[in-house]
Symmetry: C2
């Protein structure tokens, strides 16, 4: 099992396109993914009760469609809080893709990201779908263009791919995603697309995704705002030629492990590219009585504005970390907590049994000044652990969000 | 019932002092409140399981002491995460006050605010208590000095007082408070002190406070960080001469109403002076099935970083408000929501039945540019409502918190 370069076009049978249609001012704003053969589709979606039109459409398709063959995505406008007109526009977008690709409309997942409350510029979108289809291509460059086209305030594209082997067959999973504000997923991040050529039953594909997001996309947070559009979509077209996975056997476990490499990798890219972020902040809580408890505490730390601003300032203000652990809702003995920080610059124990060690502030500042900073809290209550990923909180978060729409 | 100028020294029998002792670099850092006669004491405290030494002390006294006669407060160091030494220092602080005032140590509430994880400079504190006692004075100026001495990153003092009449007796309630970071109270704000000369039983005093914070201090948020030191302390010394309130009669209701004027007023001052805040943001949710539901939704709006940055940017990005309502956990029909904004500059309906009205962006920006901005969401599910207070999110929040300790 190894990471390879590339993204959604790496598995067999997938092509992609990304173009500038004119929804946004300058950057690419429409992406299309296509599988040469019908694929199993599964997904994980926002828990926000305010759900965008494409989210409701995808949830319906995930339940009812026998196969999915394409994913159309636009950035710039989220098609959320848009009422019946929003549903109609979403359907028009899917229909136009279906017509051009000669597949059923129920085989077309949709996703939109951008401003909430504005109607899609549906003419611009439908007028450009023929062009998108024309540009479909199975090269890595085409995958990259699609990854570019789904970005909003992201500062770089997010792609990755993994290959592995089951029963002598080479299998590939590819993915792309976009952040980078309104990121506090509770079922998936804003938009994540995963393609694979593995042969697997629809039920097990869905189960693998539902279980995976708990450890990947749902463990990142940029700003605690759970978006209306969060969607993780996955297609599995079976072209790798393995015997279809229909039970939770060893092949299923291998697939889950590879899927987690892709989703965790994309999750970390999203966290590191959080709006205004200058560094990735990874927090592991160990010694918990359950995974859920460890996850609750680690997410409380990475979501604290006060912790995030201290990390931005390279300030080892560990009191804020203990404070955030304390209000997380988890029950533990604060007098037992050990706390460590670590980066390429070194590592340090800041807290032992709930109180400061005699650590060097200079070394702590040096450790925190790295581009990737880790914190580890050992609460000594049990044997479970969880890791969450976030970022620091800088002036640029305010700048980006104080006037996003203009 | 009317608001009057002044603070904790307004009710009969209370004196106060505030001095610079040298815990902080420059500003006043120790405050003392004293009641000439024993008073009933009650309080509301942080729900963070990491509780500062003074919080644990006050909780014990509130349960066990027959009367309270003094409150000693220091700023600069929070005495949180300080282990046994922290408890010992807290006791030394209370003992020294008890000795100087010739009252039992169990009659002395304590409070500390500032950096977590650092031991109190206990010699500086105990050396200055005699001076504090000497400076006790019942003037408004002395009350103001106490209010100054409890500030940390606050930019102005927070005081208020209310007078009212029960059975022909003039009764007064005075208060002071401090914010302004780590403000997401869940039982009380960082430090609030309320004094009154009303005669009331200890049980009813506690019940009045416990019930009140639900509508006042617990409805404000600056940064969603629930502090380790949140404490609201109240003393009632009976010097107004009314018949002691021992049941929930009309007099009790009048007292609760007056108390709420004081606590709400202090709460709004704290929200408006949130770290880096440029304006007060008040959010009312009406048409809810219960108060709790309305409170959940309104707090979700005022705590959203994306809403707060939009308010800072005078940007009527109402989609973020609906999004924050949607992930609040409350259940409602988003297609029914009406949303209004209002300030001294005018008022506007932004959303009707979940979708944008044809409002003027220019007028919306003008309304949002005021120093006090209100939003009202009508969810049309029932007849209950709740109001929460927060502030916008500016560059200065990052500046203040990226390197608080230096």
């Amino acid at each position: 099992m190894e990471m390879i370069s590339g993204g959604v076009t790496k598995p067999k049978g997938y092509s992609a396109a990304g173009i500038y249609a004119g929804i946004k001012k300058k950057r690419k704003d429409m992406a299309l993914i296509y599988s040469a053969v019908p694929a199993k589709g599964a997904g994980a979606f926002t828990t926000n009760i305010v759900k965008a039109a494409p989210v409701n459409w995808d949830i319906k398709l995930t339940k009812e469609s026998d196969f999915i063959q394409s994913i159309i995505i636009n950035s710039g406008v989220a098609n959320a809080c848009t009422g019946e007109e929003g549903n109609k526009n979403n359907y028009l977008m899917a229909s136009k893709v279906a017509e051009q690709l000669n597949i059923p409309v129920e085989a077309v997942y949709t996703a939109s990201t951008g401003i909430i409350g504005k109607q899609l510029p549906i003419d611009i979108i439908t007028d450009n779908i023929a062009k998108l289809v024309q540009e479909l291509d199975d090269s890595s460059e085409a995958g990259l263009r699609a990854a570019e086209a789904i970005m909003t305030t992201d500062t770089y594209t997010k792609e990755c791919a993994v290959t592995f082997n089951i029963d002598g067959k080479d299998i590939t999973i590819g993915g792309m995603a976009k952040g980078s504000g309104m990121i506090h997923p509770n079922m998936a991040t804003l938009i994540g697309v995963v393609t694979t050529d593995i042969a697997i039953s629809k039920n097990l594909l869905q189960e693998a995704v539902s279980s995976d997001v708990k450890y990947s996309f749902n463990m990142i947070s940029v700003d605690r705002d759970t978006s209306t559009n969060d969607s993780l979509l996955i297609l599995a077209n079976g072209l790798a030629g393995n015997t279809e996975i229909r039970e939770k056997n060893q092949a299923y476990d291998i697939f889950c492990k590879a899927l987690n490499m892709v989703t965790t990798s994309l999750s970390k890219m999203i966290a590191a590219d959080g709006e205004g972020a200058t560094k990735l902040f990874e927090v592991t809580v160990k010694g918990a009585k359950s995974y859920e408890e460890a996850a609750t505490i680690s997410k409380s730390i990475i979501t604290s504005n006060l912790v995030k601003t201290a990390i931005y300032g390279n300030d080892a203000n560990w009191g804020r970390i203990l404070c955030a652990m304390g209000y997380s809702g988890a029950d533990f003995d604060t007098d037992k907590v050990d706390l460590y920080i670590e980066s390429a610059e070194g590592s340090l124990k800041l807290v032992e049994s709930g109180m400061a060690t005699d650590y060097s502030e200079d070394l702590a500042t040096k450790i925190l000044s790295a581009k990737e900073v880790k914190a580890l809290a050992d609460i000594k209550q049990g044997f479970e652990e969880a890791t969450a990923w976030g970022c620091d909180f800088s002036y640029d978060y305010i700048k980006i969000n104080a006037d996003y729409r203009s």
